[in-house]
Amino acid sequence: MRISVQEQDFSIDKEVEALVRGRGDIGAVATFSGLVRGDNGITQMTLEHYPGMTEKQLEAIAKDAMKRFSLDDCLIIHRYGTLKVGERIVLVITLSKSRKAAFQGAEFLMDWLKTQAPFWKKESNGNESKWVDAKAEDKHTQEKWK
């Protein structure tokens, strides 16, 4: 299990390879990555976070997912700083014996990241920037796992 809060980009291939290398007990790897979407003239996004608490929350969420879905391993990478449209923001990888736990674990991790990780996004269209409002549906989605 590994979590990373970082400014720099990541390689999905390299992260998957590092997790599965030398393991013969894994039958399923699910990956999810979130990108900056260029809706309504958005050209870039700045992510702020709460250093210290972010790492604690990600550790706790990852541990919970490992236990809840009996995962063999998992990884969360979440970037901060200024990211352009199309850039990667977040990566979740789950490893399991079979697909169901891997899919569910990845979905669970993403739902929790949306509501339990102290990040704040500010969108910019080049002229003005605006903080993104939290979505009520994200809160609802997260509650289904309780």
Binding site: G34, L47, E48, H49, Y50, G52, M53, K56, H78, I89, V90, M110, L113, K114, T115, Q116, A117, P118, F119, W120, K121, K122, W131, V132, D133, A134, D138
Partner: protein, 83 residues
């Protein structure tokens, strides 16, 4: 007591953190925000809409009526938008 502000709250107040010693009758997050609001109009504006605010005490999400004490790290911010 160390107080941290993030996102909109940080911008409204104009600083990201400060160390303060509130009076002894300030015992909850809400109480802290009330006390700060009496000190300066900037705080009053930033903390006016409490429904739009969330808090963490010692890096754990906490309700507005959560107890606080000397030496705690309190963070005030809008609902999170990560992922």
């Amino acid at each position: 007591m160390q107080i941290l502000y993030f996102s909109r709250v940080r911008e409204a107040i104009g600083k990201d953190e400060e160390t303060l010693t509130p009076p002894a009758d300030v015992t909850t997050v809400d109480g802290l925000l009330n006390w700060l609001s009496t000190k300066d109009e900037g705080y009053e504006q930033a903390f006016k809409n409490r429904d739009g605010l969330r808090a963490a005490v010692n890096q754990t999400f906490s309700p507005m009526d959560a107890p606080i004490k000397h030496g705690d790290e309190i963070a005030i911010f809008p609902p999170v938008t990560g992922g």
